[in-house]
Point group: C2
Chain length 502, copies 2
């Protein structure tokens, strides 16, 4: 049986290595590929993803799993080994009906529609993207049906990003959250204590921002012998273990955008750096779920990057890097403006308070697209209406509206909810962290980020996929997943920032 | 039968796509990969090369080939299609006995020994590279035996790089060449008309060199929407068709090195850009042989890049780019020093006259290594002795001696002779070009490189693999391959440069 187990893991490792290769093909597409390389690249990712998929649904996997699970020595496996077997079984069941050539087609279309999306976004013209997105939505419908024809198609996609997640469960978490956030935003807007917005729009030369972002990564302890920082249209993290590359995007008149993207992606990157502790290229040495991945990224970005404690430590360095630009800025004003609660167009740049409303909007659109309640061609109109209703913001054009995110172009649907799940998990974990490290603020203020980050690393990163996300959060915090910690965190934070009388 | 033919080509395309992916993995390793990514990369290239190999020796290939070749409609295939079938058959026969896991092991070892080589070269210490090179030589012996156990192992390797090539054929070409070159070098050294060497060692800032090299590529017409230029320890070209990346290496006190490397790699790159004319991802749309590849690179580097005509056109632009540095330099002095005939350590930087002696040295060493007449551990001593005997140069250390080239670390043996074959083919083709375009010098002097380059493209690049190298050269020039054109070209050129009384 030991031999079968090892063969099973060998097949899994091959799939992981192929996934790494595909990730590099995507990274290269966005960072270094010559302009006209797209067509060849599409063939490459199609083939590699087909081969990866073939390994995941290899008939040998099924045979080996059956053999191991029915073997008299099964109980001699360690808990960790049993978890590997369990996850492999679940993954096999989920993917076995997805044809390999469909995976190739799906990934190839992803590269092609990504090209169309970039062009459409450049020209702020949804019609360029429309036919490609229609193909992508149809492919996602097929995909959902392959994954699990017996459940609602959007549930099937959600479950793939976040094992066990459903629309119903997600709504149970976000509905009470919405009830806290919406009035809170209004109160913040009506408060007489408003942030000094001009701080954020001051021009910071890109070269200088690049140095600043590298320094922040060094402060976090990001290992550049095992990673890189580059610039892309849409920031992302790519790779695993000893080769984890993050990207960011610089705007001359919005230094915060790159800085927060960099910290966000560093959170993803650090997860990948440390996730292999229980065994590289084994299920237990992989990320738990996309929600937990976003929990890590949002933790670095928000709970650290937007905290008073971090800026108490970092403001002097920040001023050093930026020379004359911010000499007049005091700590409390900077922290307030970094946390300004203001309905705006771009999800990735949104503050912590409005952010989850952007996600709820996308969740509703994806759900309705997948169930045929709305059509792709109507997306810009519906998008703009929803942004107006939910966020109270008037979208000016497609580029800052329906075209802002890369996800759909790559074929990623059912992923957006994981950002809010990440926030919810993060707040609950952060609450526990504060109990375990009562002087966490002092540590960070003194520039000793490692105490807090190590705690998070041990609690989250190094656990890999030992437990499903809901179990992991309960294991870490001792309580069932609940959005009340996020609601409380946001209420407290924005009460203080805007001096609300609640 | 048509259907079988298409399936055959589909399998071939998959192998080509996997080869492209592997090329990117190597390119990335040398250009963008984080320092500690090597171990993961080794697993990636091992797996991809195994998968590529599996496709090349897929039992279906054998069945399909047999079916097609014995089919009554075989003669309805076009000549081009028949050539595809012929090349696929030859490749299958050659590779079928090479086990896929051996290919994986070979490529994995290549990544590991490349790491050791870089370190050894940095510290100029052969002992760091020794154990890895021993492994690589042993793997090459095995490889040769798999390719063809019935012939001399070094012949088997040569045949893989250059179909049909043998030690004997190579010696028949180079022995008469050596008899011309060796006395010619002596005469040049004894001539009272020596080049002004200080021109070459003038300091040219790297930033400025980068602009200069990009400009030269633009002059050649290199399409940056289908390619890139980057810097690596050892210049190379990677990729095919619409994504062809070249690299170079800058030295502050030797501007010529980067410039000639860039033109050399541009010759490789342009071959890949245009080789697919008869059908991308088909044998006829692939390069003919490594010798013809080197013919293209050496043509761009030498016949264009070191020509009086080119520098008559380019010198004013060169002076513009380099500001004050070369204002005092006149055309004839620059061309003389660019073509200085001087025994030196580094093959890649060698002048046209001494270059082939570097190759003959490597040819003899590889041949003797493969036949067990010498041992890896004795390489530095034998290398230095041979350089002294053949070139009359005293090697100062391993870095400028046995460690200078990347090839062996990557597992490439039997490849070096193709450089000299490229020179031989190139001179013969150049002779024909001059007949076809009598005013070729005038065209280049006026900056119209395209007439000459288009001729070469039509004659060589676009032919792809329609013919084997010897047939291709005969088809282009109307004569059998001979080294006399290279001998004549070198004699004439160096007679003029050094004002010899021959």
């Amino acid at each position: 049986m030991r031999k079968s187990y090892n063969v099973l893991l060998k097949l899994f490792k091959e799939a992981c290595v192929l996934e790494e290769v595909n990730n590099l093909l995507y990274w290269d597409r966005d960072v270094t590929m010559p302009k006209k390389g797209g067509k060849q690249r599409a063939d490459q990712v199609a083939l590699i993803s087909e081969l990866e998929h073939e390994r995941r649904i290899d008939p040998r996997v099924d045979e080996l799993l059956k053999f191991i699970l029915n073997h008299e020595d099964y109980n001699n496996l360690s808990d960790l080994e049993k978890r590997n077997v369990f996850v492999l079984q679940r993954e096999y069941n989920r993917l076995v009906n997805v044809p390999a050539d469909f995976v190739g087609e799906f990934n190839k279309q992803g590269v092609l529609s990504n090209e169309a999306w970039e062009k459409a976004k450049d020209q702020s013209d949804f019609s360029i993207f429309l036919p490609e997105l229609e193909k992508m939505v149809n492919l996602n419908k097929k995909y959902a049906n392959y994954l699990n024809p017996e459940i609602d198609p959007y549930d099937a996609l959600m479950d793939y990003s976040e094992p066990g997640m459903t629309q119903e469960k997600f709504e149970l978490l976000v509905n009470p959250l919405k009830e806290v956030i919406v009035p809170l935003i209004k109160e913040c807007q009506q408060s007489s204590h408003q942030p000094k917005k001009n701080i954020l729009t001051r021009k910071v030369p890109i070269d200088l921002q690049k140095k600043l972002n590298l320094d922040v990564l060094n402060v976090i302890g990001y290992d550049f012998e095992r990673g890189r920082l580059d610039e892309t249209v849409h920031p992302f993290t790519s790779g695993s273990y000893d080769d984890v590359r993050i990207t960011t995007k610089y705007f001359e008149n919005n230094f915060l955008s790159a800085l927060m993207s960099t910290m966000h992606e560093a959170g993803h990157g650090e997860y990948e750096h440390f996730v292999g502790k229980n065994g590289r290229y084994q299920p237990v040495g992989m990320w738990c779920s996309d929600g937990v991945h976003e929990c890590s990224s949002r933790f670095y970005e928000n709970f650290i990057g937007r905290s008073l404690a971090f800026w108490k430590f970092y403001l002097p360095k920040f001023k050093e890097f930026t020379g004359e630009i911010f000499t007049d800025v005091v700590l409390k004003d900077l922290v307030h403006v970094i946390n300004q609660a203001e309905p705006s167009a771009i999800r990735a740049d949104a503050d912590e308070l409005t952010y989850d409303l952007h996600i709820i909007l996308r969740f509703e659109l994806e759900r309705d697209l997948m169930n045929g309640r709305i059509e792709v061609k109507d997306l810009p109109t519906i998008w703009n209406e929803k942004v107006k209703t939910i966020l109270g913001y008037e979208v000016k054009n497609d580029a800052e509206g329906v075209l802002q995110d890369i996800h759909w172009s790559d074929g990623l649907m059912g992923y957006f909810p994981t950002y809010t799940l990440g926030n919810i998990y993060g707040a609950q974990i952060f609450n526990k962290l504060k109990e375990d490290i009562p002087d966490w603020e002092k540590e960070i203020e003194e520039g000793n980020l490692q105490k807090v980050l190590n705690w998070f690393r041990t609690a989250v990163h190094e656990k890999g996929n030992l437990l499903d996300s809901y179990d992991l959060i309960e294991d870490i915090t001792g309580e069932k997943v609940s959005s009340k910690y996020l609601a409380d965190y946001l209420s407290t934070k924005f009460n203080q920032l805007y001096k609300l009388n609640r």
